[in-house]
Symmetry: C2
Subunit: 466 residues, 2 copies
């Protein structure tokens, strides 16, 4: 194994779990998914819950946790595997590396499974194995009940606040992600299509022996929110919206978005909207501290954006009233952000158990429904702040919406901003004891600084920051 | 959709299938596999059999083929998906693009499923759906029977010989793969670890909007045959074994290996073994033509390698006798190559139905068991030729083998080649009507030319080829 492990931190996590739960727990790591035939798999990605307590991405393994103790279940490599895969560590070696108290072959798991809680694996083969070994149906993680629900709640309580070992990894992911964005900016003016910029950025991630935490978005059509194609040509008048993040080899993620002018020079209209989004970004980050409601951060972004669009003549009215009627969501139709950790939307496999404080439910409001996090902030939480402005045809051409917002949108004025299809600015913000720390602060947000990086002009970057 | 389709070629493939099979066929495209939570998936890779007849990677779709006609089953995008994914083509648009004769929603598939043959999908969710809709168990593809076996045999007969449309794609994949290797060579001397070279090479693939056809191997430990980690430092005395191939957006693959000296200069021992492997490579390619048995190509490689090792004083005896007793397999323990097409090991999901001529079985011999292809060559087949030499500890320290080969291996002499852990040279070779064409011929194989590329000296590359 080539992964760093912090045995003490892992042990502490298990003890913290034992403090909250008094049933045994079995967590499966999962198995590789076949790509086009069984021997040609996607890169293995272990279950995040397994990674949290075991620390390394072992394939086809399980851990049993009880009273702070951990038993590792994994098979020793077959002798013939040395031919194809080289010498692999033995079960005992692995147990030592992760600080397991005991280690057994997988065939022993069934006899240690009575009464254990678990969380459903992402791959169907492992989920079927879980049902068989626990001798009961395993619910999809979104409809948990009984001890599995208790386990999920206990894990959420732990994973909501990152420990020192997690933060070391999260900072590494953030640092590499910043480098990737800087590299992407530097090649954009001369790139011929989106794929060139994507390749340059993922190059940085791979060269650091990390992987992408999610499918990169690198697009001149920022108004398509989940755009994972890269075939459009780069044209000098266009904006490029880039949402790319690295993940360390033990699974910890970063999630960063920047939007820049391909020419290295925002047009006046692009710059005007960019500054509105940046104002929301800065205002939100400035409010982050323990005790603050994340939904209030979201509503703050909505208000700042509404104010900015009023100032530009795109919206009419009082910002608070506009937010009340969800007029901001015509242009900012998603939430201000989400939890970040081992998953880019941390613990989203558990549905809203992670994102929503117990007893809270998603709002039906157009402007709030997509909010993925609705909790009071607490120290150790890592969240994204990612306000945006988009001209989504599916929203803006909708007849009902045009009717509802007839008086508050100046549609005529809006046409002057046709060169702004989508802008988002996203950073990763750690809640500290007294306030906040932006883990991705090394990547500029100010328009001049971004322009300088795209132009490859590092001295004007310094000037922008002096 | 942004993929090129050749509607005429697709139609011809369906008619060719109808000529061989008179039952209806349903092929599913499959669905994305979750990475760490359901909304964070691996990039979608459609079933190769689906791609062969439908031409584009539609997710969660199926096609029904009967009498040369094709019905597409796919659901229209939901209205709200336009927000996240932009305007998507309708079912009718897609049907036009792929030349389908009819198009229906997925809910109609069940009523068109009676008596249809199929091939199991790679993802378990789709396989379960296949069983439900066809109302029978779907065998894993390696134990096919009845109409599913007939379908597999018919598809193999078609996919064994590539048509014009396939060759256009395969040449594109080969060309980009050649560029990737040249880029990897150029950065090696200054790279700090394997991950740097991998990143440089995958950059080229991504910049061409292609993906990797398989997990890249970029390693100073070439003796580990399936090495998919990249954490070793680059040291000037080492060889780097690099097996990297691109895949086009419609699924067609390349598969190329080169081995070079990180310093740009082979040592005398590295060069000596390199030339043995290259001699086998050249001899095998020279023999490729219709009617030749691929197993004979494999045995030719074994003989050339045995001869070379005798000449170097590593083996003792007559090459033919050494091959007879599998002594070559101590150092060349895998097959000379395999089929290449939509899969890097083409149609390996069907087990040996594709690779082995009907009635033939895998040999038990150590030196033949790993041979993946055992058929007479015919025009349109694309195969790899990939001889190698490896010092695999699991093989060479095995007590029984050391005893068995005591008299034919000069173990003392072998120690002088300690700086050769693994060498492989792999090209993609098309069987033509009269002989062969190496699709990857633009990538040099001669030691001097490879050295020149690693040294970044393009003029000496020209000299090496003049
Ligand atoms: Mn995000
Ligand atoms: Mn190969």
């Amino acid at each position: 194994m080539t992964h760093d492990t912090d045995v003490e931190a892992l042990r502490q996590r298990r003890e913290n779990l034992a403090d909250r739960l008094d049933v045994p727990v079995i967590l499966w790591s999962g198995r590789s998914s076949a790509r086009n035939f069984p021997a040609n798999c996607f890169p293995f990605r272990a279950s995040s819950h397994f990674l949290y307590f075991a620390g390394i991405p072992l394939e086809t393994a399980a851990i049993r946790l009880e009273g702070g103790k951990m038993t590792l279940f994994v098979d020793d490599p077959k002798p013939e595997s040395a031919l194809w895969h080289g010498e692999m560590p033995s079960r005992t070696d692995i147990a030592t590396q992760i600080g397991a108290d005991a280690a057994l072959p997988m065939s022993e798991l069934e006899s240690h499974a009575v009464g254990a809680a678990t969380i459903a694996a992402q791959d169907t083969m492992t989920a079927l194995q879980q049902s068989r070994i626990l001798n009961r149906p395993i619910s999809p993680a979104k409809v948990l009940q009984g001890i599995d629900l208790e386990l999920a709640q206990a894990i959420v309580a732990l994973r909501l606040s990152h420990d020192r070992a997690a933060l070391i990894q999260l900072r590494q992911a953030a640092d590499v992600t910043v480098q990737a964005h800087i590299a992407g900016m530097a090649v954009s003016t001369n790139a011929s299509w989106e794929a060139d910029v994507r390749a340059t950025m993922e190059h940085v991630i791979l060269a650091n022996n990390m992987s992408c935490a999610y499918s990169s978005i690198v697009t001149v059509h920022g108004e398509v929110l989940h755009n994972d194609r890269y075939h459009h040509p780069m044209q000098l008048g266009d904006l490029l919206l880039v949402d790319v993040g690295a993940e360390t080899s033990t699974g910890w993620a970063a999630d960063v978005t920047r939007t820049w002018a391909i020419s290295g020079q925002f047009s006046a209209t692009q710059r005007a909207i960019y500054d509105v989004v940046l104002a929301a970004h800065d205002a939100c980050i400035g409010k982050i501290r323990p005790g603050v409601e994340y939904q209030d951060i979201h509503l703050l972004a909505a208000t700042v954006i509404a104010q900015g669009l009023v100032d530009l003549g795109i919206l009419r009215g009082q910002p608070e009233d506009l937010v009340e009627m969800d007029a901001h969501a015509l242009f900012f139709p998603h939430g201000i952000g989400h939890l970040l950790g081992l998953d880019v939307h941390d613990m989203e496999d558990l549905g809203d158990i992670a994102g929503y404080e117990e007893g809270r439910k998603r709002s039906d409001r157009f402007g709030l429904n997509y909010l993925r996090l609705n909790r009071p902030l607490r120290p150790g939480m890592l969240v994204t702040i990612e306000p945006g402005f988009y001209q989504v045809p599916a929203i803006l051409t909708d007849r009902d919406r045009r009717e509802k917002y007839r008086d508050v949108v100046n549609w005529e004025r809006l046409t002057q901003f046709a060169d702004v299809r989508g802008i988002r600015i996203e950073d990763d913000v750690l809640v500290t004891e007294t306030g906040r720390e932006v883990l991705t602060a090394a990547l500029p947000t100010k328009a001049e600084a971004v322009e300088a990086l795209v132009q490859g002009d590092l001295s004007s970057l310094e000037a922008a920051y002096s």
